[in-house]
Symmetry: C2
Subunit: 501 residues, 2 copies
């Protein structure tokens, strides 16, 4: 059986090499590739992705996994080998259920819809995009049918991004979040003048923004011997090995928080990928467990740490050294309040850590209505605007700033959005647990010592790579499945104090 | 038959995508990869290279090429399709002749020999390296046997880098070169004081060195929409598409010519790769025809253009603007003389354009003696030093600055060196032809107009990609096979004048 296990690892190792090459092709595309290279690059990515997929869905792989399944069931559930067989089998079964023609159709329709979306958004004309969105929906309904489901059509689509998570669980979670957060947002909206962040909306030298970002990333524990930072239009994290995990960032000349928190956010993702056990290198267990868990790490460092008062007690002297003019008379408390300003806004990617979740809930609800055919595509803008009014108290002036703002649906990526909020929730749950287990956690952050938090995350979460699902990890680390209470308590305490509610 | 041709192109297109991904993995390794990524990267390159090789030597590929061979022989020899089948068949037949085990043994022995070479060079102890060199030689003798040869064992090894070139032709060429150049070098050696380049051996600001290099590359015609420059320890050119051709450079803080001419040299390589006909994209005909022809392009731009008087008549005002202090009182003639200083030296990579060829001839002769077992490995240092004395009039003080200086033999790359000199020769032959066909060529360079030369090269040479061999191209463009006379005439005229011989 050891022979078969070695054979499995050999095959998965080759596939992992190809996938990592695809990641590098993508990283380069976003960072250094000259414009002329675009056509050839798309072709190269398509060829290599197809090759990795072909190798993975090979019949021989299926036989190997079937033979190893019984063997693996006798090993400890948590062991590397049992987890490798379990996760590979899960991925394999899903991959085999989708006909190659459907994969091709979805990719093709997505490329067309992406073009249509760009034009529709530029013209702020949803009807131009509607038939393409309809086509994407129809294909994804087919896709969900191939994967199969017993309860909700959203389940198999969500499962692509958050394995084993169910729509019903998210609905229950989101209902609680909505109940607590909508009133909080309305209360804050009536006290807009309480927080001043005007001193952050001024010119900040770009090189210094770069320098301060690099400094913070190092402080937090990002290992630059196994990573680097570059620039790209949209910040992202990309890994080509556990020992080569890179982040990118970008800056706004007149708004300090944009670049600074982008760097911390991506550093959070990178710390996760760098912390996976070396024994999982070249297996499909390297990398993060799911989008939601990945987001829990980026948002923990960005919001719970980087937007926390202890962090600024440590960091404000350094920030003032680099920006003496802009931050004159700004102390830790003033900075803390400024970087936590809440304002209901139209655009998801610009939202603060409270209202962000309402943008997500809105999308999650609309996706379900569309997929279950409870809402017609033609009525989507109206439904969007109604929910914006209800949750955030504002109405988009046009489709460009409303229903057309996100790229995701143009690619048919239904089921993706909720993972952002799952990340927020899980981050709070983990942080609460960490505070229980690591006495003086916030005091150490105040001293600029981040390793107590990082070490705890490494040992409890990062090392496991893709072995476990969100609920498995949540139970393992905190003794409970995913909870809403830590997040809601955190938000209420923090913002009641900041906004003196 | 069109179906079979399309099938061939589809297969070669996929292989080309994989090979271009390998090139990107290599480019990144030399430019941006953090140190931690090294292990995984070596594995990724090995996996993808193996995959491309496997796909290429597939039996189905062999059948396809066999079936298309007759069809292609009825097409014009120069056509894209006939050339594709011809070159693919040539590559395929060679690739099939080498057993996979031998490829593996050579790679493995090369990795060990590389380590041994580094240590031996650091200790300046050739005997430490000798057994590894012997092993590399033995394996390459086997390798040559697999490829087969009728005349010289060197032929099949040379053929890897310079298709269809024969050892006998190079011997005849090198004999003429040696006869003319050795006396020239000795004559110059006795007039060392004639040329002063001390003003170039001073601190030059690195950012300005970068700026002037970028400016020159643009002037020469390098399309930055389809390329870019980065830094790396050793300058190189790498292509991932005809529309994505990148160069790298490095600088010496106290010696201006190092970085400046490295950039022009690599620009020459890049102009060639960027000039290949777009119809050859994603076929194995994209890229340069051979190492010798590639080197003819890099050296033409570096030496015949960049070290020419017309170039400096155009460029000296600009250079003086950037470096007013270092180039005070330096006019075009003074600069021209300085950048053409000749000095017999120990190290090949630091050699000037005359003595460089003697370093090559020495290596070519020794390689043949070793492969034909006319020289024992243990006697190599002695033979090396004797030839250094004979050709260059100097004796290495130790093995590190003698026989151990080059990395090539540690990888078993026998047959590679002569292509450097073939490049020098062919560059002169092409340039002479261009001057005949393009009236006022040097006058246009004096005005900073490089497109007459570039256009001529594009139309006569670059567009063809890998379609033709060196001798085919030489006959096609100049009406003669590779000649020595243009190069020797060029050197004699130029250096008699500079050194007032």
């Amino acid at each position: 059986m050891q022979d078969k296990l070695n054979e499995l690892k050999k095959r998965l190792g080759e596939i992992s090499d190809i996938q990592n090459a695809v990641s590098l092709l993508g990283w380069d595309q976003q960072t250094y590739m000259p414009p002329g290279g675009a056509g050839a690059r798309a072709q190269q990515i398509a060829t290599l992705s197809h090759l990795a997929h072909e190798k993975f869905i090979d019949d021989a792989m299926g036989r190997l996994l079937e033979e190893l399944r019984v063997y693996a069931s006798k090993l400890s559930y948590d062991s590397d080998d049992a987890s490798l067989v379990r996760v590979a089998k899960r991925d394999y079964d899903k991959a085999r259920r989708i006909p190659a023609t459907l994969v091709f159709e979805i990719a093709h329709a997505g490329a067309q819809a992406f073009d249509a979306w760009r034009q529709a958004r530029a013209a702020s004309e949803f009807p131009q995009f509607a038939p393409f969105l309809q086509r994407n929906l129809d294909l994804k309904i087919q896709y969900a049918g191939c994967l199969g489901y017993t309860d909700r059509i959203y389940d198999p689509l969500l499962d692509e991004f958050e394995p084993d998570m169910k729509t019903a669980q998210i609905e229950a979670i989101f209902a609680e979040v909505k109940k607590e957060i909508v009133p909080l947002v309305h209360a804050i909206a009536s006290r807009q003048d309480t927080v001043d962040n005007s001193f952050l909306c001024r010119p900040f030298d770009e090189q210094k923004q770069w320098d301060i970002g690099m400094e913070v990333a190092k402080h937090l524990g990002y290992d630059f011997n196994r990573g680097r930072q570059d620039r790209s239009p949209h910040p992202f994290t990309s890994s080509f090995s556990i020992n080569d995990v890179r982040i990118t960032t970008r800056f706004m000349a007149d708004y300090f928080p944009a670049g600074f928190f982008a760097t911390i956010h991506e550093t959070g993702h990178a710390l996760y990928d760098q912390g996976v056990s070396q024994s999982l290198e070249r297996t499909l267990l390297a990398g993060g467990a799911s989008l939601g868990i990945h987001e829990s790490q980026s948002r923990m460092w960005e919001n719970l740490v980087g937007r926390g008062l202890p962090f600024w007690k440590f960091f404000i002297p350094r920030a003032r050294t680099l920006f003496p003019e802009q931050l004159k008379n700004v102390d830790a408390v003033k900075m803390y309040r400024a970087v936590n300003r809440v304002q209901p806004s139209l655009i998801r990617v610009e939202a603060d850590e409270i209202t962000y979740n309402l943008h997500i809930i809105l999308r999650f609800e609309l996706e379900n209505m569309l997929l279950e055919r409870r809402l017609d595509v033609k009525d989507l803008p109206e439904a969007w605007n109604a929910k914006m009014r209800e949750y955030l108290g504002i109405t988009p002036p046009d489709d460009a700033e409303g229903v057309l703002q996100d790229v995701h649906w143009s690619h048919g990526a239904f089921g993706y959005f909720p993972t952002y909020s799952l990340g927020n929730l899980f981050a709070s749950q983990l942080f609460e647990q960490c505070k229980k287990e690591v006495p003086g956690l916030e005091a150490s952050i105040e001293k600029g010592e981040f390793y107590p938090l990082l070490d705890w995350l490494r040992i409890r979460l990062h090392v496991h790579g893709r072995k476990f699902t969100l609920n498995e990890l949540s139970n393992k680390i905190t003794g409970k499945p995913l909870q809403t209470q830590p997040f809601i308590t955190y938000l209420k305490n923090k913002y009641s104090e900041i906004y003196r509610l």
